[in-house]
């Protein structure tokens, strides 16, 4: 397996970034070996990238179902286990059941979506990472791996696309 190197190309603006990604794809870099780092979310179609996969909504849906069952337990399970008769009111009322069930469902949905963000993104993570603070100042970084022997070819292609700098990047503490 040839030795690879990881480079970070910095771009100013969307147009040169899209062209840079295009050049890398033409040079045979797999989409999986490339990552875009930016200070704002960029729609994948703008840069010609495949859509990122997220499990946040599925985790959220799981939370919603869990919350719904917890709500049903609160409103029907607890009166079953510990009946509290109040003025002839029913022990298992249907309309009131909607209220607690709704609140718990929504809490489950949002709580698990929040947790899903952590799980899916690997947050919190304080280990060293390939990053430069220029990203949060509006620059767009294209992080990619290429064969070390062909490094110059990639640098030339990205410069042609409008990259401001292309440098090997080392993981650093954020």
């Amino acid at each position: 397996m040839p030795e690879t190197t990881t480079l970070l190309a910095m771009f100013e603006g969307l147009e040169p970034s899209a062209e840079g990604v295009d050049k890398l794809q033409q040079l045979g870099v797999n989409d999986d070996d490339m990552n875009i780092i930016s200070g704002v979310p960029i729609k994948h179609t703008i840069l010609g990238r495949p859509p990122a996969i997220t499990y946040v909504s599925r985790i959220g849906l799981f939370g919603a179902i869990l919350g719904m069952f917890l709500g049903i337990f609160f409103i029907y399970g607890i009166p079953y286990l510990y009946p509290l008769l109040v003025g002839g009111q029913p022990i298992f009322p249907v309309p009131q059941g909607f209220i607690i069930t709704f609140e718990m469902t929504m809490l489950g949905l949002m709580g698990f979506s929040f947790i899903g963000l952590f799980v899916d993104s690997g947050f919190p993570s304080y280990t060293p990472k390939q990053y430069t603070p220029e990203i949060s100042d509006g620059k767009i970084g294209v992080l990619f791996s290429c064969p070390a022997s062909e490094r110059e070819k990639f640098i030339d292609a990205l410069k042609e696309a409008g990259a401001e700098s292309i440098e090997p990047v080392e993981a650093r503490h954020l």
Binding site: V40, R49, P79, F123, K129, P133
Partner: protein, 477 residues
């Protein structure tokens, strides 16, 4: 033969509006906007710290010493006696929950509807939600009296061997407010992560660097991170709206579920929700004025268009509030029930009638007389004054519903005029704590969501059509 049948109207100055007056069309480099947001946080004058110290002293006295007195001497130190067991503490609870609705409304509803002028002030409004709910929670605890037994309301085994009755509106309230507090705090945090990462990158060292580093969670802005973050934000934006509606509806059911004259109303749910939005919008207007006046560079971010958006919403919500109030007033009046009539007569002609008239004037007449005019809506101090008056009116509305409402019941021998006592300093304490938390937060977290502003600016274009410059929105999001 003439070429024009009628003389043409003179050109109006407004026809030549420069699109660059709008924040989305007046972009600055991201680095510069970051600098502005950081400078606004860190450049503080001595007056700020003097005000902070005064507020902290008020909080210590009101919520420390006075609450200690209330706990040690019991609820007798408050003005609550039969029949007015529900007094100012619950007025405060409803009021602060109302204030908290603005954050969700501004952030979630305007986000869902893609109203672009929302971008620079969503976080300022979201902070109001979290800090407002803190005050609401504290106010309920004050009302509880034996606050250390609050865990009896949670479904955990306890020495009474009785579990909470989830059929009670008070338990619905607990569940709804807890859900809303947790979810709105998470919703505040989500869009804050990229700005915390920005602050982390721009802070050299010290405890603040560690603070930002921990809270930024290691965020870099990779495709996957953004996808997860925006997905979570979308889920929250849609899901928190019905929760917001449910919270104040359930708060209204605390009253409406009782078969008490003046309270047992089917329109109370939406009436309370619109009332909450009325006070919340007005509070946002005050906050925008204060931020614009006191924070460096905020005049760039908070412009006439933002004030106009809030002013227009205040006017619309005021009209909706008047509509619901009239509904709530007319039906009992027409019904002619003797107890309902007594409540209405007491409200309109009793010793506290001036509260009712003031409420109507500041909640309806003042906003309608001022906010129809765009120039006035865009005048920061005027908008803030109207906002302040609306909040006075909404506080009075809650006062009329709760302690004044419970005065007139079906047992005339218990009628008694409620007079707040220790409640007054403790109420001042909640206002002081709200301001204190807000001021301290403004020094630690960027109140401007810089990445959202940049995202909006990138999506907006000015296109020349004929001789006019037209604003267009591209599909970048």
């Amino acid at each position: 033969m003439t070429t024009a049948a009628k003389p043409l109207a003179r050109r109006h100055a407004e026809e030549h509006e420069d699109p660059r007056q709008y924040l989305m069309h007046d972009p600055l480099p991201r680095g510069q906007m970051n600098d502005m947001a950081m400078e606004a946080m860190h450049e503080t004058n001595p007056i700020f710290w003097i005000v902070t110290a005064i507020l902290a002293a008020i909080v210590v006295f009101s919520l420390g010493y006075e609450w200690y007195i209330l706990i040690m001497q019991g609820q007798g130190t408050a003005g609550v006696l039969r029949p007015d067991y529900w007094g100012v503490f619950l007025v405060n609870t409803v009021f602060w929950i109302g204030i908290s609705h603005a954050g969700t409304f501004i952030s979630a509803i305007l986000r869902v509807l893609k109203i672009e002028s929302r971008r620079p002030f969503t976080r300022a409004a979201e902070l109001m939600t979290t800090f407002g709910l803190v005050q609401a929670g504290l106010s309920i605890f004050m009302h509880l009296g034996r606050v250390w037994l609050v865990y009896w309301m949670f479904p955990i085994p306890n020495e009474r061997r009785i579990w909470p009755d989830f059929h009670s509106p008070l338990m619905w309230d607990l569940m709804a407010i807890t859900t809303y507090l947790l979810c709105s705090t998470m919703y505040l945090f989500l869009p804050l992560i990229p700005d915390l990462a920005m602050a982390r990158d721009r802070t050299a060292g010290g405890w603040l660097k560690q603070f930002y580093k921990i809270l930024a969670l290691g965020f870099r802005g990779t495709e996957g991170e953004w996808k997860n973050l925006t997905t979570a934000m979308n889920i929250f934006a849609f899901a928190i709206i019905p929760v917001m509606f449910s919270v104040h509806t359930i708060v209204s059911w605390d009253f409406a579920m009782a078969s008490r004259p003046g309270w047992s109303s089917t329109v109370f749910g939406p009436y309370f929700v619109i009332g909450a939005l009325h006070s919340g919008m007005a509070a946002v207007a005050i906050v925008l004025f204060l931020l614009r006046s006191t924070m460096k560079h905020y005049k760039y971010f908070i412009r006439a268009e933002q004030l106009n958006t809030i002013g227009t919403l205040m006017l619309l919500v005021s009209m909706a509030w008047a509509y619901f109030y009239f509904n709530d007033y007319l039906v009992p009046w027409y019904g002619g029930d003797v107890w309902d009539k007594l409540v209405q007569e007491y409200t309109e002609k009793g010793p506290l009638a001036y509260l009712w008239y003031t409420m109507l004037i500041v909640n309806i007449a003042v906003p309608w007389a001022t906010l129809w005019n765009r120039k006035w809506r865009e005048t920061p101090w005027l908008l803030a004054i109207v906002g302040f008056l609306i909040n006075v009116g909404m506080y009075l509305e809650r006062y009329i519903i709760i302690p004044v409402g419970v005065t007139i019941n079906r047992m005339p021998f218990t009628w008694r005029q409620y007079e707040p006592r220790i409640e007054i300093p403790m109420t001042i304490g909640t206002f002081a704590l709200f301001l204190l938390l807000y001021m301290l937060a403004s020094r630690i977290i960027p109140l401007i969501p810089v990445w959202e502003v940049q995202e909006g600016q990138e999506a907006h274009l000015i296109r020349k059509v004929g001789k006019a410059e037209v604003s267009t929105l591209s599909d970048l999001e």
